[in-house]
Amino acid sequence: MTETLLKINGITKYYGNKCALNGVTLTINKGRIIGLLGPNGSGKTTLIKLVMGLLTPDQGELSVLGHPIGIESKASISYLPDRTYLNESMRVKDIIDYFVDFYSDFDPHRAYNMLGALNINAYDKLKTMSKGTKEKVQLVLVMSRRAALYILDEPIAGVDPAARDYIINTILQNYDETASIIISTHLITDIENILDDVIFIKEGQINMSCTVDELREKEGKSVDATFREVFRC
């Protein structure tokens, strides 16, 4: 029996007069890897921010494992924003201590192992690191939690192909199979093979939501080819 992890019901969000999301309804079950796909400005990040409690919806409801967005939902989600968001004056070790303090599901041993494999010194300050290394540190922190849901906003944007492979492998090797992962991106080719489900979002509305197998069978094309067709300018 599939269990519901994330339920989004009729969510609408306005920025001033501009409608960013319009009546979005979705259900995410446990144990799935989902691609949240759409062009820039389609509403992906707004949807993620609403799930993370960084925005308040104008209409509709969201729940994670039956809890409304709040302390319990945030404790269940491991979130990687689409930017560097850590305090750059801190050492990696201090940030690990910070995560240990606030996330009961954070595994520091796993974090140190991953840092060691990447030759990242935990005593280095973030501000001394390259952009790519900072992104790896952030991914290490996010994937060192044993969360029910991982939300990764553009995890492979702006990194070289070798780093992309590393990031995708890190994601696959470090999540619990009862957990789900939502990956927001428009670089579909790189992640197509790992996705179970896809959600196409266009102009604030869900354009398509199905399994990758269903999409390939129905459209007779890859996810990437379907994306290019749906979002053709």
Binding site: G53, L54, I71, K74, A75, P81, Y85, N87, Y98, F102
Partner: protein, 268 residues
């Protein structure tokens, strides 16, 4: 969880404010050492003394300024800049996050006030050490007792009670000042792309409005009390007004900030 966040907030703000306040303590000890030398008795040393006193005052002002603004900058950085993506997605309520920032800022304000008072008293006492004989102390204690007795008659309380109440008023004023800074920064986040300019503008506007409210509340009360009742009641009315307005507006700024963070803020 509040304790853990508080630990991290104090550690983070302490990176700048702890060394700065330690500098004041070091300067104070240098001032005490200089005060104990014959330098203060020599007229030829006055230009040097003037320079030293000016440097001391400027250092006190600079550290006080940093102690005032840095908690507000930390509040902005940790909640509304990119770091907000971490802070606001921690499994904590908005009120816990805000409460930690308020306690952190308040502790630094308090530390700065106490260190400044200690510093000024210590430097003055050291420079007047030649006059501080046992007879002088005895006279000073007698003077304090007399002052306390007079205050008891006029204000209905002794010197110590008066100092405790005054300290309470200072605490409330510190809380109010801090919350006004936090609230201005929070309101500034609603100004689209110009959030820092918005925060500064919000501070200036709120400062002007609050000064107007204080004046409108103070003047009629003080004139009324002064004309018809007079005497020490003016002091209690002033304290009452400052305490009442500080609690009312400080609390209002606190809840206003929390509600705006919960309902309106959108991190870039």
């Amino acid at each position: 969880m509040l304790g853990k966040l508080l630990k991290h907030d104090i550690k983070e703000t302490g990176r700048l404010l702890l060394p700065l306040n330690l500098i004041i303590i070091v300067i104070t000890f240098i001032g005490i050492a200089l005060g104990l030398t014959p330098l203060f008795g020599s007229q030829r040393a006055w230009p040097l003394l003037t320079l030293l006193i000016m440097t001391y005052c400027l250092a006190l002002l600079a550290v006080s300024g940093a102690s005032f603004f840095y908690p507000i900058i930390h509040y902005y950085r940790s909640i509304f800049s990119r770091q907000g993506y971490l802070t606001l997605t921690l499994p904590l309520s908005t009120w816990t996050i805000l409460g930690s920032k308020v306690i952190t800022g308040f502790l630094w304000y308090l530390a700065n006030v106490l260190i400044s008072i200690f510093s000024i008293i210590a430097v003055i006492a050291a420079s007047a050490v030649d006059y501080l004989t046992m007879d002088y102390f005895a006279e000073f204690i007698l003077e304090l007792q007399y002052t306390s007795y007079s205050m008891q008659n006029e204000l209905g309380m002794g010197l110590i009670s008066f100092l405790i109440i005054t300290a309470g008023i200072v605490f409330l004023s510190l809380f109010y000042s801090l919350m006004m800074g936090y609230f201005s920064v929070t309101v500034g986040q609603l100004y689209g792309k110009h959030k820092i300019v918005g925060s500064v503008l919000a501070y200036i506007i709120i400062y002007f409005i609050m000064n107007t409210i204080y004046t409108l509340v103070f003047l009629p009360n003080l004139i009324g009390v002064g004309m018809y009742m007079g005497g020490p009641l003016i002091l209690w009315v002033s304290y009452g007004i400052v305490a009442g307005l500080s609690i009312l507006f400080g609390g209002g700024f606190y809840f206003g900030s929390g509600i705006i963070i919960q309902k309106k803020v959108n991190l870039d």
